[in-house]
Amino acid sequence: MFRFLVRRILGAAVILLIISALVFVLFYAAPRDPARIACGKVCTPETLELVKKNLGISDPLPMQYWEWLKGLFVGRDYTSYGHCDAPCLGYSFQSREPVLDTILDRFPTTISLSLGAAVVFLIFGVGTGMLAAVKQGKALDKIASSASLIASSMQIYVVGVFATYLLVDQLHLLDRASYTPFTDNPGKWFSGLLVPWLVLSLIFTANYTRMTRSQMVESLTQDYVRTARAKGLSRRTVFFRFAWRGAMGPIITIFGLDLGVLLGGAIITESTFSLQGLGMLSVKAVGTNDLPILLGVIMVAAAAIIVFNIIVDAVYALIDPRVRLA
């Protein structure tokens, strides 16, 4: 386990390094004035000068990359804005803030949104899928299957607006979407995020229902499931002691990836509910050409996906003894 972790973390570092280099090259080697791009749309000549100086535009590209990379570990000095502490992801010349501060400011919103939604869709999706597999071919299965097919073809921005209109504006059942830090007021944190959680998890729930059902159905046809029945074990025991383990592998793999992607910012959901998370941040950064921010968000998103991949592999080994971590 220890060797596995060390190996994977080293691997992750290499991947992140490659991603950062690629992104860096794309942005800074693009045939446009990088200083202008970094400066953004609303760019005064004074700011442009400042950016040029700070970016070290006259330096060769590897040198610039090296400066950025070094900033991650030892911090970086910007002549006009002062020192940016390590790990320094760069500096946004538009918000006049170190990129990391901006990201850390937005990240809790995204974490709350994605983790909450993940809990909802994992419980309901996997639960409904299991139930549908048990009741294969019966009414419950058919209802669950058709409902999930309909739900999975929904769009968040449609459901989101509709849910807000119905549940919040008309029926006054739930609170309007908003973000209050958990540490400030857990109750408000919960009630403000409930609608976004439900809406974001709707499509995921549908997909997890379908996936769980098909995995379970396939798992139930395995020879070892038949053997378990031949031993005299009841359907229920066979289902919960044997079949689900075969079904969980693929589900956990997808879950890890989904969660990683969500943590990089649920762009549509955040936009629909005006939640200021990483998704909204990146949308805004694209709109204003705020490249240091974009680079930072990409790095965080990539790291999230990689971390959850490592966790998935570790969990996989716990479920399936044939998988050896090395």
């Binding site: 294969q136 071919g137 395995q222 020879d223 070892y224 038949r226 053997t227 378990a228 029945r229 031949a230 031993k231 005299g232 074990l233 009841s234 359907r235 044997f242 383990r245 075969g246 479920i319 399936d320 003894p321 044939r322």
Partner: protein, 341 residues
């Protein structure tokens, strides 16, 4: 005459599929006494495995119609409830499967899987179940059973997995053991070891064994009686010696002809049965073997394609064929002669 230990009467197993009803087993009868081994032979899809899944009640009730009688020690299984069957499975009757790797759970240790059966049927403690598992592994010849008991199936070799499978099937001292091609996936030396093991265990416990295979060599080794299945029906039944030496059905004859013989001349070519197994969705009329039968012209009036031959008993032998005993004697010996010269 006392009732046999296992008695199957006019068993029918029909699956409803999208294309229609598949008559996988269509009127099968046989008896089996304790301590005896019945070999069931036939091609793929002849209904061998389906018959035995039906005995254990492991067919999918949603698309399977079961009809007829299965009496195990006087207990009717066709109409038994799921709860009653669960009490019997793994306990009074158990089954070993062909592919031991796929048939053992990859997620549980060998010991846990063996002990689980024992606990289910005896209600003993986990510790006792584990001790029993070790004892069973020792009995089936697994070295260092007290260590290997905690291994997972993928850590066992193919032969050891099949031994573990047998240990699991025998953990509650079943009176009926169904072995569904248990040696097919194994190499010949391991195959011989497994067969010896089964024979020893049978002698020790007086288990009745149904041995399903398509390998006549295996039948010759282990069976007392042989039942030949074709297209979901029994075409011939008798003692091993009778069936293998003087077959009474053209299909059995064909099976024997398609098998190489070690003591015959080496240059005799094998004579496979022409054609392919019948569709059970739309089986041939009359005798299901008639489209592939070499002697179909010997029966007058095209009865082979119009009339289903009954399983007739002649001299204690049963065969379902329209040929008269005289015809068979003549034709079959010519056939055998043609093969050896």
């Amino acid at each position: 005459m006392s009732t046999p230990f296992l008695s199957v009467r006019d068993l029918k197993v029909h699956f409803s599929t999208e294309d229609g009803v598949v008559k996988a087993v269509d009127g099968l009868s046989f008896d089996l006494e304790k301590g005896k081994t019945l070999g069931i032979v036939g091609e793929s899809g002849s209904g061998k495995s389906v018959t035995n899944m039906a005995i254990l009640g492991l067919h999918d009730p949603r698309n399977t119609a079961l009809d007829g009688e299965i009496l195990l020690d006087g207990k009717e299984l066709v109409t038994a409830t799921e709860k009653e069957l669960e009490q019997l499975r793994g306990n009074k009757m158990s089954m070993i499967f062909q592919d031991a790797l796929a048939s053992l759970s990859p997620y549980h240790t060998i010991g846990a899987q063996i002990g689980e059966t024992y606990r289910k049927h005896t209600g003993c403690s986990k510790k006792e179940a584990r001790e029993r598992a070790v004892e069973m592994l020792r009995r089936v010849g697994i070295p260092q059973p007290d260590v290997r008991v905690d291994d997972y199936p993928h850590q066992f070799s193919g032969g050891m997995r099949q031994r573990a499978m047998i240990a699991m099937a025998l953990v509650c001292d079943p009176e009926l053991l169904i072995a569904d091609e248990p040696t097919t996936a194994l190499d010949v030396t391991v195959q011989a070891q497994i067969m010896d093991l089964l024979k020893d265990l049978q002698q020790e416990f007086g288990t009745a064994i149904i041995f399903i295979t398509h390998d006549l060599g295996v039948i010759a080794d282990i069976a007392d009686d042989v039942l030949v299945m074709y297209g979901g029906r029994c075409v011939e039944r008798g003692t091993k010696k009778e069936v293998l030496q003087t077959p009474q059905h053209p299909y059995t004859l064909g099976l024997l002809g398609s098998m190489p013989s070690l003591d015959g001349p080496v240059d005799v070519p094998l004579s496979p049965i022409p054609g392919s197994p019948p569709s059970l969705l739309n089986p041939p009329s009359g005798c299901r073997f008639h489209p592939r039968c070499a002697f179909v012209d010997q029966v007058a009036g095209g009865r082979c394609s119009s009339e289903r031959p009954a399983l007739e008993f002649v001299d204690g032998r049963a065969a379902a064929c329209h040929l008269t005993p005289e015809q068979k004697r003549e034709l079959f010996s010519d056939y055998a002669a043609a093969r050896t010269h």
